[in-house]
Point group: C2
Chain length 134, copies 2
Amino acid sequence: MNARKADKTDKAWRSVCPIARTLELVGDKWSLLLIRDMRFGKRTYGELLDSPEGIPTNILADRLKRLEEAGLAVRSEYQDRPVRYAYTLTEKGQDLGNVLLALKRWGEANIPGSRALRQPAAPSRRKVSVSGTK
Amino acid sequence: MNARKADKTDKAWRSVCPIARTLELVGDKWSLLLIRDMRFGKRTYGELLDSPEGIPTNILADRLKRLEEAGLAVRSEYQDRPVRYAYTLTEKGQDLGNVLLALKRWGEANIPGSRALRQPAAPSRRKVSVSGTK
DNA sequence: ATAATGACTTGCAATATGCAAGCGACTCTC
DNA sequence: GAGAGTCGCTTGCATATTGCAAGTCATTAT
């Protein structure tokens, strides 16, 4: 059963610290990786599923829901005939790019073997994204 | 009787992406908060236990162990008579300040109600500061 | 009609987290 | 020198979150 208590009245944050609050939103095992992928141009459920880290399908569905609820991403039908959906970052979501950048820099500097290939691309519309770093 | 069971020395990272690798290290629910606290000058087990988020004792012990193993923090006896330990960040750990800063800024800008409270009571006057909030 | 695809759900494991106690080494009273 | 207190943990379970495999549903393609 779905035990989510995402009720509006549920305001029991761990604290008022902006770091803690931000982590409550995206501080799980997958959210930031999804945001990374979206910044790289991945847009559909299938594309997002495809990353090398191998996110489970149920988690992907759940995270997308949460990101949407948090206003970090939006889901839209981008095609009608076979109905297909695209997830894209809102400005708020895009702004997490700074967090990603900091994480990436730290990793490159401190984790031997980790290797970034490219910088996250700006929201380019039609282009199949480069696989930056995955 | 299971084939393909990896042992503890298994180094199968999720991917080679520096973001993913960094998150494997500190991307859990507590690590970054501990690093935040250490940057604020908290040093002992008891002090770290005291943050408003309320980390459980077993998790704290475990995270400190992990941070040490990862080379982000060190444990040292800072007193002998009643033997007492202090945890402090290594340079590597300190460098995560940029990640914290990015998280903090995002939170302040995007999460109404989150609020940094004061400047770090840092043991040294350093340049990058993660201003306080807890 | 059958197969395929995209976007998910559902049902359980397997892990990770959370809570309350307890434990050992001291030390500090009395 | 017998408690009582403090610090730094550990241990034993609950509960929650994740992970894996499979199944569903609406369409579409063959």
